[in-house]
């Protein structure tokens, strides 16, 4: 089985969210829902030294991610019907004829990737734009990124990066996500809760 995955270059991302908008548009999602998330992390502050001078350790960085099509997906583990499965490209997909829309995949996924669309009657999630991939194209989010910060390919063809190792993402050992990140200098380590999600109302 080929395993596709995403690569995200955080040194390039400006947090414009074009990837998110393009995905939402292509998949005809409501404004309140999205398959791709862009988190704005910030923290630090100003410190005054004894001589009265000020220094800052403030920082901001962005993390763009969708379903990570994990090697060991939590959503698949808990799915009661087997509707959540990995296809021949390693893409975690929903068998819509089998899904009961119980929402367990949504609860279990630490990346907040799948969710139940009650109007459609099943879980929905990033499918790596598999129809476009079959046509030799890139996923919409990758193609839309004006900074070329995103890539999608078989994981052995992706540039070198750390395996989804940045806050606020979970420990990658948990589900072995197929997201590889080139971190920027401001990036904080997995598990670090000292940074703040600046766009909480947008992503939560």
């Amino acid at each position: 089985m080929t395993q596709y995955g995403f690569y995200f270059d955080a040194t390039r991302c400006t947090g414009c969210k074009t990837c998110e908008a393009a995905c939402r548009d292509y998949h005809n999602l409501d404004l309140g829902t999205t398959f791709r998330h862009v988190y704005e992390l910030e923290g630090g502050g100003w410190n005054q030294a004894e001589d009265g001078t000020w220094t800052t350790d403030s920082f901001t960085y962005y993390t763009s991610f969708a379903c990570q099509h994990c090697d060991d997906p939590a959503c698949m583990h808990v799915c009661p019907t087997g509707a959540m499965h990995k296809d021949e490209n390693g893409i975690v997909s929903v068998d819509t004829g089998r899904c009961i829309g119980c929402g367990y995949c949504h609860m279990a996924c630490p990346y907040d990737a799948p969710f139940v669309d009650r109007a459609k009657g099943h879980s929905v999630k990033c499918d790596g734009c598999k129809d476009r991939i079959a046509e030799g194209k890139q996923p919409m989010c990758v193609e839309a990124c004006s900074m070329r910060a995103l890539q999608f390919a078989p994981v052995d063809q992706l540039p070198e990066g750390e395996r989804a190792a940045v806050a606020p993402l979970p420990d990658p050992e948990l589900t072995k996500p197929n997201l590889y990140i080139k971190n920027c200098a401001a990036a904080h380590a997995v598990g670090d809760t000292s940074c703040r999600v600046a766009n909480e109302a947008e992503v939560k």
Binding site: I100, C102, G103, A108, R118, P168, L169
Partner: protein, 281 residues
């Protein structure tokens, strides 16, 4: 994270189904004390459908939670791997067993030995079902739920509600039999109250220090101790009514106690779902 009321249908299921199931334990205890050997046996057998209906209403609640209930039969595909499949399967086994008991009993097809054997089997399955209702939430990516407290509290709620519902079932058939077996119902309810309250408190305490990027889990449900209080107060009222039935069981009072206890457990379940917190996002 968060809003427990968004899982109200699941809260209805986890309130009613274990409660109805564990009510059969009281019937089982009454059976071993000879309750089904007298003239009230036929009425008792008809009344036994009450807890079965309560379980069924719980399952209907769970059905409403699904976006595609017509695909529900696929749920058995995940037995062994999915905690939800395991829960549903155990629940269905319990329900079939209990339904077989009720139907055979009403049809007069049960010998004394077969009745005892079936009721013991149904009672054991009721406890197992309650445990699996808790196990369904032990997912390794949800630290607030992935704790034995999830299982302990579900077992407690089943016994608490089941003890009183079982007594009501007996009282609806024959007040004297209910009086003779009030001790069993009250003991079950008190044990359930202690176990349920301890399990819920355990989970809330653990949630105070469980945090992700959004804060601690307990902070997401500011009213969590209020919900805990609702469970404790409603449980105490229910157990007290069960206890007073040792002198004179009043069906209306027991019915009211069942409702009060169900409301208390429902609030606790809302709190439980509100404490949902993923390991990350």
């Amino acid at each position: 994270m968060g809003n427990g009321f968004s899982e109200a249908a699941l809260a209805v299921f986890t309130t009613l189904a274990p409660m109805g199931a564990c009510a059969f334990i009281v019937l089982c205890a009454a059976c071993f004390k000879g309750a089904f050997e007298g003239v009230a046996a036929k009425t008792l057998d008809k009344a036994a459908f009450l807890p079965l209906v309560v379980v069924a209403v719980g399952f209907i609640g769970a059905f409403f939670h699904l976006a595609s209930p017509l695909n529900a039969f696929f749920v058995f595909m995940g037995v062994g791997s999915s905690p939800l499949s395991n829960e549903v399967t155990v629940g269905v086994v319990f329900f079939v067993l209990a339904a077989v008991y009720c139907i055979l009993a009403v049809a007069g097809k049960l010998s004394a030995g077969a009745r005892k054997g079936l009721l013991v089997a149904v009672s054991v399955m009721a406890v197992v079902f309650s445990v699996f209702c808790g196990l369904a939430y032990t997912m390794y990516t949800i630290p607030t739920w992935d704790t034995p407290a999830s299982v302990v509290q579900m077992l407690g709620y089943g016994l608490l509600g089941g003890g009183i519902l079982g007594l009501l079932t007996l009282a609806l058939a024959d007040a004297e039999i209910a009086r003779e077996n009030a001790m069993a119902g009250a003991a079950l309810s008190i044990a359930g109250l202690v176990i349920g309250v301890a399990g819920f408190a355990w989970q809330i305490m653990a949630a105070q220090s469980t945090a992700n990027i959004w804060g601690t889990a307990a902070d997401q449900v500011p009213a969590i101790w209020g919900l805990f209080g609702a469970l404790a107060v409603c449980g105490i009222i229910g157990a007290a009514v069960a206890g007073t039935s040792r002198k004179k069981p009043v069906p209306a009072a027991l019915a009211a106690a069942v409702v009060v206890v169900a409301v208390g457990i429902f609030f606790a379940r809302i709190g439980f779902y509100g404490l949902y917190m993923s390991v990350a996002l």
